[in-house]
């Protein structure tokens, strides 16, 4: 992380007083006890007490806070519900946490344009909650959806089990309002399908709180499918399960959800919730089909046939919505279930080309033996997004470090086989130092120049995403060939 600025820390009292003038009442927390809940996010191995927390409840206050912080050189870490799994909301010792929890209103539901305008502190699930009685829903469904906020989803470009068919957050947004570090308000997109100018909405989405603070979001609403059906397919080998996934897609079927669990994950989940998973299977597929009843019926038979041809040892299709949810219960509880069999676990998030699955799972098992750590795998199989859960005990000396090294090795392997470091959890602080595995210095400098266009003083969430922070002036050097800019008199845009 950037070295804390002792001079700023010494000015804490003054900073808190200044923020209280901008956000009166209970909106500023400066006392040590009050700051404790903000020390970490979902990546709880990392902790840091911030200088102060400010909880504005109007866009004008956000503008005032950011403008003041910019003028005074104070770093700002935006925070939604603090559920990031990559340390995106990890505070800075010399920085202020800008909590957006008070922005919790749904401003408008516009069915005619199939969208909703919401404040960033509204939870993901609350959007669906507000519209489902009318037959609509918001598609991205990260597993933390009961708690995570839409503002955080925009910052992280969150996914979920349904994103194979329905896309990530970025594919389900129409517009947003952001406040730049300067305090300026910029509206990106709207209710139409595209906007004038560059697609800045697209680049802000998934920018991990480094480009602007989201103060309003316009999301697309989809019509709820008529029916949904889940299937369980057990296999005697990971290879057979992987081949089945390929066959399903080759048959032209894009399921709403297509998940895989390996044996350790199956056993942990079954012991925890008793979902009825086949405990003799080496790999389990959960396939969800949605759409008209006729489509679910046709496709579930087709998927069963594909599974049979690949030697599935178990094939079950849900016959009621209760049974469908029971099929999902084990998968959705996989993380806490693993938490019961191991004192601690560390969740990774690489994506790989699916054809590499048997090779990668084999290599992960081998690495686990070498590190002396167990691992359970859950996998968004349809889109190749792997979630190995590394089992360790933080109380045993060296195990946390071993787990982190193991995790880094897994991600390097993902990149080496043609994949990426993170499919949906973000880079944050966790994978920051691995960015060099995917991108060279030129690539990273190019991305950092985007950062400079939004936040030239690098005050917004510094220390995340980029392994090294370059001053913007340093990045701004123009490559001029043969000492001359051609046509210097032309207006350049």
């Amino acid at each position: 992380m950037p070295l804390p600025d002792a001079a700023l820390i010494a000015r804490k009292g003054e900073i808190v007083r200044a923020l209280r003038r901008l956000v009166p009442g209970e909106g500023v927390i400066g006392d040590p006890a009050g700051l404790v809940p903000f020390q970490s996010d979902g990546l709880s191995a990392y902790r840091q007490t911030p200088l102060a927390v400010v909880l504005p409840d109007t866009t004008a206050q956000v503008c005032a806070v950011l403008a003041w912080c910019q003028a005074n050189g104070v770093k700002v870490v935006p925070r939604g519900a603090g559920t990031s799994l990559s340390g995106g909301a990890l505070p800075l010792q010399d920085g202020v946490v800008l909590g957006m929890a008070k922005f919790n209103r749904i401003l408008q539901v516009d069915y005619a344009n199939r969208c909703a305008v919401v404040q960033p502190g509204v939870t993901n699930l609350a959007i669906t909650g507000a519209v489902q009685a009318d037959g609509f829903y918001y598609a991205p469904d990260p597993s933390s959806q009961v708690a995570c906020t839409i503002g955080g989803n925009v910052a992280e470009n969150s996914g979920g089990v349904h994103c194979l068919k329905y896309g990530l957050t970025t594919n389900n947004l129409l517009g947003c309002e952001i406040v730049l570090m300067s305090g300026e308000v910029v509206r990106l997109g709207g209710k139409g399908f595209d906007a004038a100018g560059y697609d800045l909405l697209g680049v802000v989405t998934g920018s991990e709180g480094l480009l602007g603070v989201v103060t309003e979001v316009t999301v697309r609403l989809l019509t709820s499918p008529q029916a949904a059906r889940a299937m369980l397919l057990g296999f005697a080998s990971v290879e057979a399960a992987g081949a089945t996934v390929g066959d399903i897609i080759a048959a032209g079927v894009i399921p709403a959800g297509l998940e895989m669990m390996d044996r350790p994950a199956i056993l942990a989940a079954e012991a925890f919730v008793g979902a009825g998973y086949p405990t003799d299977a080496e790999a389990l597929l959960i396939v969800e089909l949605d759409g008209p009843e006729a489509e679910c019926a046709e496709l579930s038979e087709q998927v069963a046939g594909i599974g049979e041809a690949r030697g599935a040892t178990t094939i079950r299709t849900s016959s009621s919505d209760a049974e469908r949810l029971a099929f999902w219960a084990g998968r959705k509880a996989a993380f806490p279930a693993v938490g019961r069999i191991s004192p601690d676990y560390y969740c990774m998030d690489g994506t790989i080309p699916r054809r590499q699955l048997p090779h990668v799972l084999g290599a992960i098992a081998q690495m686990g033996r070498e590190y002396g750590l167990g691992v359970a795998n859950v996998f968004h199989a349809g889109d190749g997004n792997l979630h190995p859960l590394i089992l360790y005990d933080a109380d045993k000396p060296g195990q946390l470090e071993a787990a982190e090294a193991f995790g880094a090795d897994i991600l390097k392997l993902c990149v080496a086989v043609g994949g990426v470091l993170t499919g949906e959890h973000g880079v944050g602080v966790e994978k920051r130092d691995l960015m060099g595995e995917m991108f060279n210095e030129t690539d990273l400098a190019c991305q950092q120049r985007v950062k400079c266009a939004f936040d030239p003083d690098l005050l917004l969430n510094p220390g995340k995403v980029f392994p090294r922070l370059h001053r913007c002036a340093e990045l701004g050097r123009v490559h001029v060939h043969r000492g001359a800019v051609a046509f210097p008199e032309l207006p350049r845009f």
Partner: protein, 383 residues
């Protein structure tokens, strides 16, 4: 516009593109040239053609991804993926004939302009299927971003930034896109004689139904009367795609839900495909000297565009996209509806002007990639 033949550079590799850009001459970036006339480049010293970068690098149907050089023709790709039972989900339009250009559209061009066809309402836009890139910035640096897998949040999503930047930030040399299985069957329901407002209501109702409508277009009477339909009254069309049993069930549901919009006719298979190809390519508005506008508005406001400007309109995306032939400048009216207009053909400012902090931010983003303004100078509005 420059005389293309006169000073056209046609690099064969990304390294040659780097060389050319690093020379520092202002360049007009051209793929197939079909969209050259939109917001014409002013002050370019040479044309950089991507016609030499046409290789398909990797196509893994089972992974749903395709990587190709940016100059590959859309038609080539469409054939390639169709042979594997797949499609380009965003259904990119072929606008050469509409814009009076001779060339064939390229993948790079479709992405750079973020152009999507009727399926945009269901499957997403070009930008939503743009997974990874290699490009040469105006600094003459070869950079990569994104990846070659369908799900990735590593680093800033520069693909989105490039989509719709019209070659003003970087020259795309290699791109990875998401492909999807092609629909096994398709069917179109046609409604007749609806005025624009009523057609807007029909499309909205259809898009609210659990019918997974993948095309919702309206051709007012004057537009439907032109080639290729040469119809006698307005036509409102709804497309359904997917597996046969599902399409049949949805068609039945939709016909019931829309029964108060009058007589329904059905187009199957090839007839349906032909219908949507002409909507996609805006065939009804070909061969007309009047200014042509592409207008994006909140879908429910689509029909109001026709009220605000005289001329012939074609409504796609359930009203969210309006193609308008008109001598009137519709910009103020469109902005009041919450949308924006681009002048695709005709004299005048092509791209919607920006203002305030967004304009300044946009200029800083441009400068981050192309500080000397050597890529497509003058396009997307001069500062």
């Amino acid at each position: 516009m420059l005389d293309v033949a006169a000073r056209t550079e046609t690099p064969k590799t990304a390294a040659e593109v780097v060389e050319l850009v690093a020379e520092g001459r202002p360049l007009e970036i051209v793929g197939g040239g079909t969209k050259r006339g939109i917001g014409a480049v002013a002050g370019a010293d040479a044309v950089l053609s991507l016609a030499g970068l046409t290789r398909v690098i990797d196509y893994a149907p089972e992974e749903l991804v395709l990587t190709a050089q940016a100059g590959v023709k859309l038609a080539t790709l469409e054939k390639l993926v169709a042979a594997q039972g797949q499609m380009l989900p965003f259904e990119p339009p072929h606008l050469g004939r509409l814009l009076g250009a001779k060339g064939q559209p390229t993948l790079g061009g479709a992405l750079a302009a973020n152009l999507s066809g009727p399926r945009r309402i269901r499957a997403g836009a070009a930008r939503d299927h743009f997974l990874g890139l290699e490009a040469v910035t105006g600094r003459g640096e070869l950079v990569k971003a994104g990846g070659r897998v369908v799900k990735n949040v590593t680093g800033y999503d520069l693909c989105k930034l490039m989509a719709g930047s019209w070659g003003t930030l970087a020259v795309l040399t290699e791109v990875t896109i998401k492909v999807l299985p092609a629909a096994r069957t398709e069917l179109t329901l046609l409604f007749f004689g609806l005025d624009d407002r009523r057609a807007g209501e029909a499309m909205t109702r259809a898009l609210h139904a659990p019918a997974e409508v993948s095309g919702a277009a309206h051709l007012p009477a004057a537009t439907a009367a032109r080639a290729p339909l040469k119809g006698e009254m307005a036509v409102t069309a709804l497309r359904l795609e997917g597996f046969a049993a599902s399409v049949a069930a949805r068609a039945e549901h939709l016909a019931m839900a829309l029964k108060d919009f009058g007589r329904v006719e059905q187009l199957d298979g090839p007839l349906s495909r032909d219908f949507w190809a002409q909507v996609r390519d805006v065939e009804a508005l070909w061969k007309d000297p009047r200014p042509l506008w592409r207008i994006s508005v909140p879908p429910a406001a689509g029909w109001r565009v026709g009220e605000a400007a005289a001329g012939e309109a074609l409504y796609d995306w359930g009203g969210g996209l309006v193609w308008l032939l008109s001598e009137d400048n519709p910009r103020a009216a469109v902005r009041a509806l919450g949308g924006h207009a681009t002048l695709y053909r005709g004299e005048g400012l092509a791209f919607e002007p920006l203002d305030g902090p967004l304009k300044a931010l946009t200029a800083r983003v441009k400068a981050a990639f192309d500080p000397n303004g050597v890529l497509n100078p003058g396009r997307m509005g001069a500062s």
